[in-house]
Symmetry: C2
Amino acid sequence: MATVEDIGVSAAFNILVAFAFLLAFALLRIQPINDRVYFPKWYITGKRSSPRHADGDFVGKFVNLNFKTYLTFLNWMPQALKMSEAQIIEHAGLDSAVFLRIYLLGLKIFVPMAVAALMVLIPVNVSHGTLFSLNKDLVASNIDKLSISNVRSKSIKFFFHILMQYLFTFWTFYLLYKEYDRVASMRLRFLASQDRRAEQFTVLVRNIPHVSSYSTSDSVESFFKKNHPEHYLCHQVVYDANKFEKLVQERNRLQNWLDYNQLKFERHPEKKPTRKNGFLGLCGEIVDSVDFYKQQIKELDKKLTMERQKILKDPMSIMSAAFVSFSSRWGAAVCAQTQQSKNPTMWLTNWAPEPRDIYWKNLAIPFFSLTIRRFMISVAVFALVFFYMIPIAFVQSLANLEGLEKVAPFLRPVIELKFIKSFLQGFLPGLALKIFLLILPRILMIMSKVEGYVAISILERKTSAKYYYFMLVNVFLGSIITGTAFQQLHAFLHQSPAQIPRTIGVSIPMKATFFITYIMVDGWAGVASEILRLKPLIIFHLKNMFIIKTERDREMAMDPGSVDFPETLPSLQLYFLLGLVYAVVTPILLPFVSVFFAFAYFVYRHQIINVYNQQYESAGAFWPHVHGRIIGSLLISHLLLMGLLSTKKAAKSTPFLFVLPILTIAFHKYCKNRFEPAFRNYPLEEAMDKDTEEQSSESDVNLKPLLADAYLHPIFHSFEEAKLIEFRINKSQAHILSRLGNCSFSPSHDVHHQKEEPSDNVHHYEYELPGNVYQYESEVSNNVHRNDIESP
Amino acid sequence: MATVEDIGVSAAFNILVAFAFLLAFALLRIQPINDRVYFPKWYITGKRSSPRHADGDFVGKFVNLNFKTYLTFLNWMPQALKMSEAQIIEHAGLDSAVFLRIYLLGLKIFVPMAVAALMVLIPVNVSHGTLFSLNKDLVASNIDKLSISNVRSKSIKFFFHILMQYLFTFWTFYLLYKEYDRVASMRLRFLASQDRRAEQFTVLVRNIPHVSSYSTSDSVESFFKKNHPEHYLCHQVVYDANKFEKLVQERNRLQNWLDYNQLKFERHPEKKPTRKNGFLGLCGEIVDSVDFYKQQIKELDKKLTMERQKILKDPMSIMSAAFVSFSSRWGAAVCAQTQQSKNPTMWLTNWAPEPRDIYWKNLAIPFFSLTIRRFMISVAVFALVFFYMIPIAFVQSLANLEGLEKVAPFLRPVIELKFIKSFLQGFLPGLALKIFLLILPRILMIMSKVEGYVAISILERKTSAKYYYFMLVNVFLGSIITGTAFQQLHAFLHQSPAQIPRTIGVSIPMKATFFITYIMVDGWAGVASEILRLKPLIIFHLKNMFIIKTERDREMAMDPGSVDFPETLPSLQLYFLLGLVYAVVTPILLPFVSVFFAFAYFVYRHQIINVYNQQYESAGAFWPHVHGRIIGSLLISHLLLMGLLSTKKAAKSTPFLFVLPILTIAFHKYCKNRFEPAFRNYPLEEAMDKDTEEQSSESDVNLKPLLADAYLHPIFHSFEEAKLIEFRINKSQAHILSRLGNCSFSPSHDVHHQKEEPSDNVHHYEYELPGNVYQYESEVSNNVHRNDIESP
């Protein structure tokens, strides 16, 4: 058992680590050479194109020689606070702004709670405690003397604890309600203030039934023309382009090599770049590199053209999904919220996600398969959550010093040193857990993808939910039960339902020290390492040295990706759980949680302003989940306090505590009804307002150019030229007036166009739309990045 | 413990009772005097106006003198089968047809199951059983020798039981799927084939926000004109008319007395009917009755006019709800399925129920109150379900013969008679339960009304759900646990979750005899008493003798009401539960269940054709509940078999059984996604088809007359004359073309109209729309009937 001194040592150590990280960050961030690692957002928004502090001379390009800037090395903190919320929304989107509000909410909940609890509960717990009179060996730790464990059984003092629990619960209700209200109205205001965007007019239709004599495109058209005659505008079918995608990636690679060699040739015109034409450039004849890659690209383009024609011609490559666009937001809102077909598994309509948010591979999964997939994955998640406990318990039993000494007796002399013992006891269990948790998000993301969600934002939310359940069972419950005794696990499964809260309730105060160290290791030091960005820094410089050939490569290497919601949200929610559970039991934990929220708020504000670049905008769609989990934490805290007090023989108090979960559920239901629809539906009133406003400001709104290719698979963009798109729009507009009424990438006439002008066509495939390529590439790299690189 | 002989006696007794009831029914139904009790449906549909067998002479009017008809006294059974399903739908509505399908489903499930189980499981259970070798005193009953209890622990024979459980589960899946599919398509076809009806174009809007400067009517109009400009047609606000309703009832009573006296005077013109004008006609001056009632009605009409004007003028009497009608089914379908306002608790839209289905009193409950009401009621239902157990257990412990002898030792000589003992043991426990259950539906219906549902059909479904949960806990679980030992209840609450299915599983085979007698008492005899209609028969004749004064009174006394869904559906579902649970455990129960389903099918088919008159048509909306509860029964049966086998130490079988509940949940999820939307939404495709068809057949559809007063509170109809309505329609049509566009009972000009022609107005209030009055009266009496009269 850790004592107060252990906590002190651990706190000192973690504060030191955090400060070291902050200092390192302060020094590294002002070096011009690191500018692209610590301020990539400014490069991406185009407000900066070269390092800020770069002086004229050669050395100044890499190292900051202006020593004045070293003196003000902590000035990032006030800088991070300068931007107002409205500016952050404009700069980084609503998701980021709402994300920061979670930290603020944590502060608002826990700082007043900490003050109240320390002023009222600590004196109540300390005075005339039971634990002072006990033998020193039996007393778990000094921390316990400040906790509810120190109050005698049947004491009248529990009245204070119950009163405080009521106060804290109502305080949390008040803040949650205010916050939900605010976030919901922020979301509606944000959606209302958005410019005209393709997703406002578009609905994703899935499970289009296959009628043998019609093509998918034709049946979509006739169905929506019939059932939404006044609002249907056009549609875009979804192609199965997985093979094509691979070819495009290969072409991008070759294009990159070509650019590199051309650049090399421009800089040193005296030396023509050459390479061998054999396997991996290691054997074969020596040839001119530029010519070689040009030749290769030409061959690949031919393949691409053929593959593209095959996709467009072959009805098998058209998936049973389509993006249907409407002439008004009202029409799209109606279609997204209603049931279309008599068979409710056909013609399923949902709001289309933003084009950049779509996870294309999942668009074609049929309905029946979805049901089965989700069911299988929920069984798998259950297994993962519950059987992952065993390795964690094993590692923690090792991290227990007595266990470690038994396993490795030769370490005893080292461990027995007082300082090292304190250090290990404070640090090891938290660290072991943390390492375990790092490899997990990848698996969970894959699981979510198997479940078949079609938007990256939804995938991230689902992953985050799975991760939270994992943490709840394994970090929270697992630490409480296996930490004290692994044997309890078995007992736990064979107990009566009424017994479970009691078992956990009793263990809760004993584990306070563990969770305090956990908050320091995972929270404090973790957040400090977040701002240092050590891994991206190293990777960027390594890439800069070995891989980066062109400016485009540098941009890709610099790309910071989005805030990692699947990992940060669940751990954030775990801190809410810890704070709420321990608020009454061991109030000394609250200042630690509050410090975490404050520090993390600064750090993430800085990161969102300077580093991260959101890949999608869900307009705060994750808020209902955050809200729901804080409510869940409240319920858990009520249940555990009930269990704890029942072991303290304060049976008369149970009826008072029984009211709290009922109130909490009622509050949750009310909030759900009141606010959640704002996150699911787009109200018709809003849609109509926006339509009317737009019609009055612009007399003749032409939506076609906006919708033309918004929902075309991004790889088709990558080697189209702007002209071709325009040509297609014009052509399809003429077309709409005739029979088809389809603003999409229409297979038939497109193929025809290619046949007429084959020479023109080859020309189109030259690399002329870097923006589009970049967009796509960044999406892919974002996924790869999250799944493969960030984990150790 | 009941033996096979007890069961035999009980069966014989119940069969005798059932036959006695059937014989009585056969004799009573052919008496002309009872014709209105046993064939009211034919009077209501207008196909019969006087008794069928009534001969010319005086006696023949009351007693059937045609002795030939006595010889074929069982011919109601083939008669009941003559009507085809399509004819039943036309004759009695889809609800009734779907209701009958539940009995057929029961037969389809249990008859093949019974055959298979008796052929396979009974030989397996009987051969080499453990129970033969035991002491006679310890053996519970001979029935047990046919059950799974007779199989030795760890026997390989359990393989047969698991195999049969799989077979039975898949058989049930197959039938459930087919049936859900069929009912869903029947529902869609029924809705598609319906004539134009007000509810197809109308949406119920609740929680209309109050804007101080606008009236509710104006704000409804402006809101829907703005947000559904192409589809909004008109609306009808809802008035708070509870006081008015009482006056109308009083007026109807007086009108009835007037009719009676006028009739009397016509028949005996020589004797003028008189009465005293004082208290209850017992004191005061003697006056001419006709004049007296005419005078009274005149006075009441003045009051009514004033009250009516007050309601129409006073903005406080307009509730925050309205019925909004659209010019097409498509428009209404869109409005019903979408979110209207930014604030999701305002402007809530749902399909309007049929006018006759509306429960007017609940229309004005605000949203916030609804959340709280539902929450409170769910707590109350929980309390009722779980604490009602105590009196039942008490009564059952009395019904236990040993207990009874202890409580009343003087009864011992009577009880110890072998025949009476068998009778009591077989009959008493079931009877005690039945009496308990009879007073319950009233309470549950009141609870559902407090919850604030706005349609009678929903109220009945919710009551039926509550009743089912009650039966599940108290009849099923309660009998199993308290029946064997009341002490187990306490133990049950203090057991581990894994232990509960084992505890119940062990008791299950022991309670088979109890449930067999229950099926005979509640099922066989209960259904036979259903066809006899003893209570309605007695009440009708009593009313006929003492109360009935006019033809209208006779019609009211004859009114059979609807099939009592809140009581019949849950008990039906309980039989499914019993059948599925005992199919493998004690297969001898299956024939009893099958006989019940067959017998009940005949009886209810006869009753639906000849007796009941549905008060509303929900197009089979209760089917998802029936399906869901059969799935629930399957899950319970799997769980209990698992528990039972684990006590039989057939531990290796558990993995096989574990798959079943998972499959069942997956099947349920699939069915829910596949079929349930057909019961909740009206697909746009369907709406558009219907609209188009109608437009092509009738070039100029005028919906105004249809929608004009469809959703006016029925009491306002009761003293309007047809002319006045027409006048209003014409006037409001003119009106619509001008500013208001409102086809409703518009307060302003109606009041105006009354002021202009006061003399004309009094004339209007004369009783001229008996149909409407009748309709309303029957609705009220239906409620009263269900709640007050039918319970003992």
